[in-house]
């Protein structure tokens, strides 16, 4: 027996970049977050080779979950090919050896900024959302200690008041992204800045969603089959963006969340925000045999 066969060979970094103790802490905090859906768990956010605010929270979760057999997809505002998404995807592959994909159906782990793919996620898939500001109460209670007490007491009167004020002043709820939502009937969370369109996708979803804020050092989760209900008044229904009737000018797909592209003449055209879904739709239109997954929205409407 020699020292050489008792120790691992030297490597420039741990598997998956993060050291074992950092991953262990993240795993523990993720389990806690799953146990108390929607409740923010603090964690010691580590340094990763990326600036805070660029998805470091999501990246750490992905690095912890990843293994060489896991197929990874990374999207940024729905697009797989933005610089940030491409960089994170390449980094994940490089430090873990995991294969990558652009197709939602093929992915095991999806790290996303500000969107949920249009195709329904399955029980064996994990969605990691990057969160810039995890505290839904920040706008009504700047003191974080008091805000934590308010979560503890389920004291969300001020959140509702904010909605009341928006309706009184503007005639409708103005909250666009990060629509505050009640998770499992107990904790109000911000679903990260996904559009209102995407929030109903989290309700009783089959997949696990983990939301992580690297700069703010908070992690929270929506386990599979958990209620996620946007805060709404009983007599003022929740409304998603009016994208149900729009058609993508490139793929011809209708009834999904769109990016608006302003034109020189003052009008706008639209393209599907979920870029890979758009690509698949174009390929299908051109006669290729493409596996198109079932989508959450059907004909621009979310089935109840």
């Amino acid at each position: 027996m020699s020292l050489a066969n008792l120790t691992k060979p030297w490597a420039p970094m741990s598997y998956g970049f993060l050291d074992a103790s950092a991953k262990r802490e993240l795993r523990r905090k993720m389990i806690k977050a799953v146990c108390v859906p929607g409740c923010q768990m603090p964690y010691a956010s580590r340094e990763v080779p990326m600036a805070r605010g660029w998805g470091t929270g999501g990246l750490q979760v992905s690095l912890t979950l990843i293994n060489p057999a896991m197929r990874v997809k990374v999207i940024d505002q729905g697009a797989d090919d933005s610089v940030n998404a491409a960089s994170i995807r390449r980094f994940l592959a490089r430090v873990s050896g995991a294969p990558t994909t652009l197709d939602t159906l093929d992915a095991d782990l999806i790290q996303s900024r500000h969107r949920i793919p249009e195709e329904i996620l399955r029980e064996d898939q994990v969605l990691v959302l990057q969160v810039p500001n995890p505290e839904p109460l920040r706008s009504v209670q700047p003191n974080m200690s008091i805000a934590r007490q308010m979560h503890g007491d389920a004291d969300y009167g001020r959140m509702w008041l904010q909605l009341y004020e928006q309706i009184v002043r503007s005639g409708r709820v103005m909250q666009g992204a990060s629509y505050p939502s009640m998770v499992n009937g107990r904790h109000v969370m911000t679903p990260s800045p996904i559009p209102r369109w995407d929030v109903p996708k989290l309700h009783m979803a089959r997949h696990l969603t983990i939301l992580s804020a690297g700069r703010e050092k908070r992690i929270f989760a929506v386990p599979p089959y958990t209620r996620v209900e946007p805060l709404v008044f009983d007599d003022v229904p929740y409304r998603v963006e009016d994208h149900g009737g729009l058609t993508c000018y490139r793929s011809g797909a209708t009834g999904f969340f769109m990016n608006e592209i302003p034109q020189g003449d003052g009008t706008s055209t639209y393209e599907v925000s979920d870029s890979e879904y758009g690509v698949k739709a174009i390929r299908a239109r051109d006669g290729e045999v493409v596996a198109m997954g079932e989508t959450w929205y059907k004909d621009g409407k979310m089935p109840q």
């Binding site: 009167g157 001020r158 009184v168």
Partner: protein, 265 residues
């Protein structure tokens, strides 16, 4: 010597509010020493005394904002039991939101100055679990109307309102859930005399039409004389005298009360 009074014999209803043996010190400063107070349903208790006499501290305790070193506080209401000072934070908050209303001298303490006036009132209802926008709006309107707030300014934020109007918003917020107990901390201090009279009149109306039990703290004897059925005189954290309002004003027993009453008249 004055006679000691017998316990009530005719009025059989239990007192709504019972505060017993309340003492509180901040370091070596004694804020309250063995204070007791009883308020019957529908009664208006006035607490007078100079600044620093402990009257506002007592009121804050009745609103469960502060806990004394010793003493007990009970409210005779269905499903409210035991010493309220022993309640945890959550139970306190629910009790205060649903059963106790308070109007502060300083509207900044009681109102969100940049939210709408109706929203300030609606908050109470939201805390109590109301989730229908139309109902919230209607009830907020009703409460504001009851406190004689001009409804065309329904959605103006308090910061744009005059002092008297701000007090009305506070009052509307306090009575929105028809509380069992309404606490008033110097509600008219700092207002113009004419505005003060209007606010007093509103309070008097509420007292007459809704029979709300009130505890009102003021150093202004005129306010107390107008509103209170019974008066408690406090000095240096102790109750020096308590009695019927007309008795306290016409036949004050304690030297301090005499000084107070004579200073006013």
């Amino acid at each position: 010597m004055t006679l000691t009074l017998d316990p009530p014999r005719i009025v059989k209803t239990a007192p709504l509010v019972q505060v017993r043996g309340v003492s509180k010190s901040y370091g070596r400063v004694v804020a309250l020493r063995d204070v007791a107070a009883t308020v019957y349903p529908g009664e208006v208790l006035g607490i007078v005394g100079e600044s620093g006499s402990g009257k506002s501290t007592l009121l804050r305790m009745m609103n469960l904002e502060e806990t004394p070193d010793t003493g007990s506080y009970t409210l005779d209401l269905p499903d409210v039991d035991g010493n309220l000072f022993a309640l945890d934070r959550f139970a306190r908050r629910m009790l205060c939101a649903t059963r106790i209303g308070i109007v502060y001298q300083n509207p900044h303490l009681g109102l969100l100055m940049k939210h709408s006036s109706s929203g300030n009132v609606a908050e109470r209802l939201l805390v109590a679990g109301e989730r229908r926008f139309a109902v919230l709006r209607e009830k907020a309107k009703d409460a504001l109307a009851a406190s004689e707030f001009p409804l065309e300014r329904l959605d103006a934020p308090p910061i744009e309102l005059s002092g008297g109007m701000q007090q009305r918003v506070q009052l509307a917020k306090a009575i929105a859930l028809e509380p069992a107990l309404l606490l008033l901390d110097e509600p008219t201090t700092g207002l113009d005399v004419s505005v003060q009279a209007l606010v007093l009149d509103t309070l008097k109306r509420l007292q007459r039409d809704r029979r709300i039990t009130m505890v009102i703290v003021s150093h202004d004897l005129g306010v107390i004389r107008t509103l209170a059925d019974r008066v408690m005189v406090m000095r240096r954290g102790e109750v020096v005298e308590a009695g019927l309002a007309d008795q306290i004003f016409q036949d004050p027993q304690h030297a301090y009360t005499q000084q107070l009453v004579h200073a006013k008249l």
